[in-house]
Amino acid sequence: MRYLKKLVRNPILLFFSLFQPIIFLVLFTQLLSKFSSFIVLPGGTYLEFATAGILLQNAFGSALQSGNSIVADLDSGYLQKMLVTPVRRPAILLGRLTSDAFRVVIQSAIILGLAYALGAFVNTGVIGILLIFFIIAFFGLAWSGISLAIGMRTRSSETVFAIGGFLTFPLLFLSTALFPLSFMPKWVQDISMFNPISYAVNGIRVLMTTGYDWSTILQAFGVIALVAAVTLGATLYMFRKVVS
């Protein structure tokens, strides 16, 4: 609740954290709009193809702020203030994570709206959009786990951003988020096969373009669940250490 309120109180932050993905969306899709004329994309236009990637990129950036805020709470002593109340321990983390998920869904809705204005449709309709939100929220949670764990371990927001930034771009570009598999050199293809981002992106992409391709969608969920288990496990472990 507290984090949600903070979010509403900081519309500027919400706005600016959207800036980068929006610029990406417009720049990439316009710059590479001819892309589909010499390569066959799983969607129709490059815009439809790239929107999924941009959505995930946004989730990345959003998750990074999560670790940052726990550092702030550790520093200010607010975490301790919560710890001396009867609030159940896991609820503190859960509150943090739900507000992250909530934020990322709002941002995604804005991005999807913009993509629609530029000419990209979600072919599976309302249920498809809900499923997309679900994938993104879930993915955002898994990634929040990483930044929360780093935040609690290092207690430094600079480190959270450094490590987060260091992870974001290679992972994004070494995946199928912005370019199709067939476009990549062999070694990048190999890496992207093991990149969890690829699976999440593919899940969103089929929902936007081809339809209910359940094997891809379930794969997306499976991979995200695996990542989430690892990162949230690490978060929980670090949280226990911080709390005791």
Binding site: R2, G77, Q80, V84, P86
Partner: protein, 331 residues
């Protein structure tokens, strides 16, 4: 009145081997205003962290309001209020929202919270600023808001870790007034730590002086000062390194001197009727060609109590040494 906090043989050893709290025992009575007085790093905050379930103790027994610290920590959290050394209010929220949120942390219901928030806003004098964001509050206002959030669930015991550190004298005096009011009107037991002598002297009905993880003296401020049993004369010499020991010898030979403590920069002489002794001391030193830089006379303070038990003054390091080192470096 019965004891609401009992601590027996409490020890806290940090993982690097530091003994932050070294075998302390004390008790606090219900409704009492109790304090820990000591310099930075004495173990005050560590003790508060243990008592408020934030830090696990190494050994010892602690009972709070009849609850065992380890087995019933959840029960303890329900009846204590804590204000930590850092001011922890959320700057993005208004004063009212900050207190309301804390009420939710304590799982109070909505109507109850609303009523209580109004009570508290008037208790700490923040009604007119209630709808402003806490970010724009002054340091003293933030402290008062923090205090109000700690009181939202009507705790039986309020723990205050250096509640006025870093405040200007005026805000400090205001906080003191509120604390005395809370102690009386809300009938709350208060456990306070401080490094300010005046604060302990003014507020605490009973206190323990703590230094380097150990309690060196306990009692009411009056009892502790009476224990000194004497006024003190503080003498600093123009050339202390050369003359200190000789001066000490001379003064010791005078009648009625209880004790002399040599703290390198000055000598502190304790005596029953110190006023009468000043002339004798000056005469004795003068006849031996020891030049005096200054003489101050005072009735016993808690600082003298601290001095007597530890050989140091509470704030010597901060106030005296730091500036002189600075000047030395610049010359």
């Amino acid at each position: 009145m019965s004891d609401i906090i009992t601590v027996d043989n409490l020890v806290e050893v940090y993982s690097d081997g530091t003994k932050a709290v070294n075998d302390i025992s004390f008790s606090v009575k219900e409704g009492e205003f109790f304090g820990f007085l000591g310099p930075n790093g004495a173990g005050k905050s560590t003790t508060i962290k243990i008592l408020t379930t934030l830090l696990r103790k190494t050994s010892g027994t602690v009972t709070i309001a009849g609850y065992n610290l380890e087995k019933q920590s959840a029960d303890i959290r329900r009846i204590i209020g804590v204000q930590s050394q850092e001011t922890t209010v959320d700057g993005d929220l208004t004063g009212r929202e900050n207190i309301t949120l804390q009420g939710h942390f304590h799982q109070m219901n909505g109507d109850e919270i609303k009523k209580r928030v109004n009570e508290l806003l008037s208790l700490v004098g923040l009604e007119s600023a209630a709808e402003k964001r806490a970010r724009n509050y002054s340091g003293g206002m933030k402290k008062r808001l923090d205090l109000a959030t700690a009181l939202v669930h009507k705790p039986k015991i309020l723990f205050l870790d250096e509640p006025t550190t870093g405040l200007d004298p005026q805000s400090r005096a205001a906080i003191w007034t509120y604390l005395e009011k809370i102690n009386k009107e809300e009938d709350i037991t208060i456990f306070l730590t401080t490094q300010y002598l005046e604060e302990a002297d003014k507020l605490c009905k009973r206190l323990s002086i703590i230094d380097a993880g150990k309690i060196v003296a306990s009692g009411s401020p009056i009892e502790l000062k009476r224990e000194i049993g004497a006024d003190s004369i503080r003498i600093s010499l123009e050339n202390c390194q050369r003359d200190n020991s000789k001066a000490k010898e001379l003064i010791n030979s005078l009648t009625d001197v209880n004790e002399i403590i040599d703290s390198e920069e000055y000598l502190t002489v304790y005596a029953k009727n110190a006023g009468l002794l000043i002339a004798d001391i000056v005469r004795a030193l003068d006849s031996s060609d020891i030049r005096i830089a200054s003489v101050t006379f005072s009735s016993p303070s808690l600082d003298d109590v601290f001095m007597k038990h530890t050989g140091r003054r509470i704030r010597t390091e901060e106030l005296v040494k730091a500036p002189s080192a600075m000047f030395g470096g610049r010359r």
